[in-house]
Symmetry: C2
Subunit: 210 residues, 2 copies
């Protein structure tokens, strides 16, 4: 972090270029399957350059990749992500996510897959990546909390638990989309997730748009 | 496969012991984070012994691990997995899965995490592991198909797509349970998945037990 703060504008651009290229490598081969030598070869960077930009080594590079992937995936869900307090916004969010991944169903969730790889090998990095997942999930929870307060969800509905379940559908849908090389699992998972949310609406309101 | 067929009873037991120990290593550190040297050290096996039991090398070992993990997870879902054609069986299935993972929430799905690691590094092995996922998913689809035929799901419901969504909830719930070190994500995900299935029941039957 200190190192990043001290970079020139040109240095910052070079670092960003390395992170973007390394992100593609890790996406294709996993953290375990991508060595720093692979990154050097793939980004035409020297060993000392790589050390200059990432003095913390592979962990620091992996965290920069996670940060980049997180920015990308949050961006793809805008403007819906911050306004998930109407049924129409949830529909828009679902469509935006499906559209984003329809062009790259083979990728899975770049954040979710990092977690399962890092949990056993680099717990500190894993905890930071879990922080990204929680940040993403919080948008869903905040929207559902506002819907709960507005009476769009039943009084006994639990916005936290509903957000957790909805986010699990996103992650599982992406994992299966990667496995089956098709966006259909994500699409089916989000459709069911929204059906479960509608089932938590007050009786008689389940199908209405807010 | 040929090598396995030629093993003595004692050899088969030794091979199974190596697979079980290696499965724990891979679960903890991922495929990328586990070398054959790690497996040798962790199982007190010599290089030539390991080659004797796994002439196909790491890929063959990883596939044996996937097979073992698949047997375990299918076993944990019995007897419900083969009778998922009543709402009561779905409830029993959910409870069995949650109980199985409540004791080991840190593990995630040993099959699902393998897929995301192998897709980029070993496509042949990845395809075999995806076959396991499809075998697991087929149990859900078969139950839902029978429910559809019996009129427990609406005529316009799509058992294939519902099974895909339910399975995504399982996988995403396990991924988040691993990330958050708690079984709650899996429990919340399965509760919502069953709510979505109930929402596909004929009007007025949504809450009834079959």
């Amino acid at each position: 972090m200190t190192a990043t703060a001290r970079l020139t504008a040109k240095g910052t651009a070079t670092r960003a270029r390395i992170v973007a290229a390394a992100a593609d490598l890790v996406l294709a081969r996993g953290v375990g399957g991508t060595s720093l030598d692979d990154v050097r070869a793939g980004t035409l960077t020297s060993k000392s350059q790589l050390f200059h930009y990432f003095p913390g080594g592979k962990s620091e590079l992996v965290l920069a990749i996670a940060e980049l992937q997180m920015q990308r995936v949050l961006q793809a869900q805008q403007p819906y992500l911050e306004t998930l307090d109407t049924w129409a916004a949830w529909d828009g969010w679902r469509d935006a996510l499906v559209a984003h991944y329809a062009s790259q169903p083979h990728q899975g969730c770049p954040i979710g897959t990092l977690v399962s790889e890092l949990v056993g090998t680099d717990p500190t990095a894993a905890a930071e990546v879990v922080g990204h997942l929680n940040r993403w999930r919080a948008y869903l929870r905040d929207g559902l909390t506002r819907m709960h307060e507005a009476g769009l969800l039943r009084p006994d509905a639990d916005p936290d638990r509903l957000a957790l379940a909805t986010f699990a559908s996103v992650q599982g849908g992406l994992l299966l989309s990667q496995a089956l090389q098709s966006v259909e699992p994500l699409s089916a998972a989000l459709e069911a997730a929204l059906a479960a949310l509608h089932a938590a609406a007050p009786d008689g309101q389940a199908g209405t748009a807010a």
